[in-house]
Symmetry: C4
């Protein structure tokens, strides 16, 4: 089972590289096996060129290394905080993709300007608060996770599987490592479109709640009728 998890996480990391969202060794994807509460994650600073499933590092939800010869991604404590706080998620992805990062750097939530956004994110994608000096001086990556969780008070993380960390960049998640990567791809696309939308109309407003409901729920609600019913 860990072999499958490592293979899925490795494949998701390579899919992230193939998406064009990350350059150099930036970006990382993890996956959770809910049966034993173990997480597989990309090793830190390792090239995508020769990445193998065996290189994925296995950690428990406290962050102790269970298996693997390499150091896990330095963002591991952020991933783990998300798995602990959002029990339904099975994969987390992190990138510095250009447009999503620009929104994060502008410290702005990403408004829902159209159905492309509404098909995947049920409302604005939140931006975190800045970390306090104390948090920055403490367990920084854990505090980043806590800031994300705080930004989701009252929100369902599977209805808005993405966040913008202020001054940093996006994290996305989903029901599998592959879905987390897919959400990174979608987030970057809608972040680019939203910037262009504001250039064309500085007073652009979000779509109506009725249109948001219609699009999100036709793909994700209990009466979803998009796809082949097996996704």
């Amino acid at each position: 089972m860990l072999d499958q998890l490592k293979a899925d996480v490795c494949a998701a990391n390579l899919a992230l590289r193939d998406s064009g969202l990350v350059i150099l060794t930036w970006g990382n994807v993890s996956g959770l096996d809910p049966e034993n509460g173990l997480v597989a994650i990309k090793p830190s600073g390792v090239s995508y060129e020769a990445m193998q499933p065996e290189q994925m590092v296995i950690v428990d939800l406290k962050g102790d290394i269970v298996e693997g010869d390499l150091r896990p991604s330095s963002d591991t404590p952020t991933h783990l905080e998300l798995y602990r706080a959002f029990p339904a998620i099975r994969g987390v992805a992190h990138t510095h993709s250009a447009y999503a990062t620009a929104w994060a750097q502008a410290r702005r939530a990403l408004p829902c300007y159209g159905t492309t956004h509404a098909d995947s994110f049920y409302g604005s994608v939140p931006v975190t608060a800045d970390l306090t000096p104390e948090a920055l001086a403490g367990d920084y990556e854990l505090e980043t996770g806590r800031a994300i969780v705080a930004a989701f008070a009252g929100l369902d993380p599977l209805q808005i599987p993405a966040v913008l960390v202020a001054g940093h960049g996006p994290f996305t998640w989903g029901t599998s490592p592959a879905r987390a990567v897919e959400n990174s791809i979608i987030l970057e696309q809608v972040a680019q479109m939203a910037l262009a939308t504001e250039s064309l109309d500085p007073n652009a407003g979000p779509i109506s709640q009725a249109l948001l409901d219609r699009h999100f729920l036709r793909k994700h609600g209990k009466d979803a009728y998009y796809g082949q019913g097996n996704r």
Copy 2:
């Protein structure tokens, strides 16, 4: 004959993917066989990787499935409304391409700022009105088609083979599925150029009617002299 239609529609869907306009499984293309009034369309939510002509779904103009094991694209009722209202068209394409979608999200018609636009679209590309709450709560995809048709009152759909659906994205069409895809490619290019044009000159105005006539008619009028006369 349906084999040919399915092959053409499958090829057009793959051409759309190869164009770079769509990511993941977004986008869909259909084609009409006017002899029997049947439409072939991409199945919903199916990957482009292994797409085969046999997977194309055949529906009649009322939307009843005539042939095929998969569910047709959820946008099928929009396509069918276009075929019913615009009898000369033989293909329809839908994308969420970044720049055309940004204009749709800004709820702005795309002005004709140059001859690149005029070569393919005989004037501004219209934007639809927002759907009413009643339309959103009803047959949403059919109502989307009706909003497009309403936006073309007094316009010739073969002279302006494209529309921007407010808050959603572009639909294009043409005399074949391949031409519908070609018009999606052109629309995205001129949408990008138009945004840059406005950045360079916030007071930019459309080209003159005389220049618009000259360019559109040299390619499409009865005295067209572009190409080899066999297009």
Copy 3:
């Protein structure tokens, strides 16, 4: 000799396609053989996929077809006017590349904001005047050529081998068809950079005459010291 000219022009058209500057069948390149005053040019509306040197059309400087089964590019009269008015040039290229076209659509000359521009264009790249209604109703493509020539009154076309046709797009030229294509590539790059420069500083001004001189002349003056001395 015409075989060589056709091969060079075909290769330059394919290089234009490979540059990413043109989509579909847009864009065209021609070349002049000065010994016999004949021009080879891309046929109109023909796909790049299977383009062969034998398909290039040979016309004389008056526009009469000397050799070839296909119709020449509809822009041929523009190319010919440039060869007649600028006797030192041996190749002409035309694209609708996105950023150069945006400047043309904004009807703005492209300012020299940096040494990238100065390395190839010795000052602003001119924009033509709008064509008069009479010119639009007459020999449109010839009139386009005349508008370009008028914009170069007092300028050396080999020192600024590019122009923006108002409401249309760029033409570039050079001492060979390959050089004309190279100048299209450079023009697009500096057009993109200039737009971004103005976004970063709405009051940006051109570089000094001294810096312009230094860069253009180190590559193109009689004391040029760039490259291996054999270009």
Copy 4:
């Protein structure tokens, strides 16, 4: 040993081409062998297509050619001034990449808007002063190097391994030719993000000193914990 240096410098030049940052023959990378004080650099104006290690030109720190049949890059005096003034660096790269060049053309230092920037550049990336008319008329490329060195008064060139030359473009450096290229790639990415950040918030400010410290030092400080500890 010079064979290894030439191979590294050739590979770094090809990596620069593969990065998509340079077009045509633009861009150049050099490397220093500190044991003998010799520098290998790309020859001037030579195509990337058939570039071989043997073509790299070896010069000493005064600029005299020690080995090689080709003329060295015309930017060689700039590279050499950097090696003389910044003794810790082992590679230098120069590009005209679009976004970094736009900042250079706007004569603006690149602010640190996020952790992507902070991971590699410990604060704003400086922009040089304009060269004086005397400098432009003198040893231009050497004076460019001097302007860069002047812009780093009080700064550690290994903490901010990049600069924007006013009206020209970026130079980057690092502890190897490959690292210099990597820093060109990162600089272009953060230059693009910073432009988008300002579009989204014209009053955007840099990240806090505490966040800058945290990110730069987790990768580069004496207690760095990013990567596998062997970079």
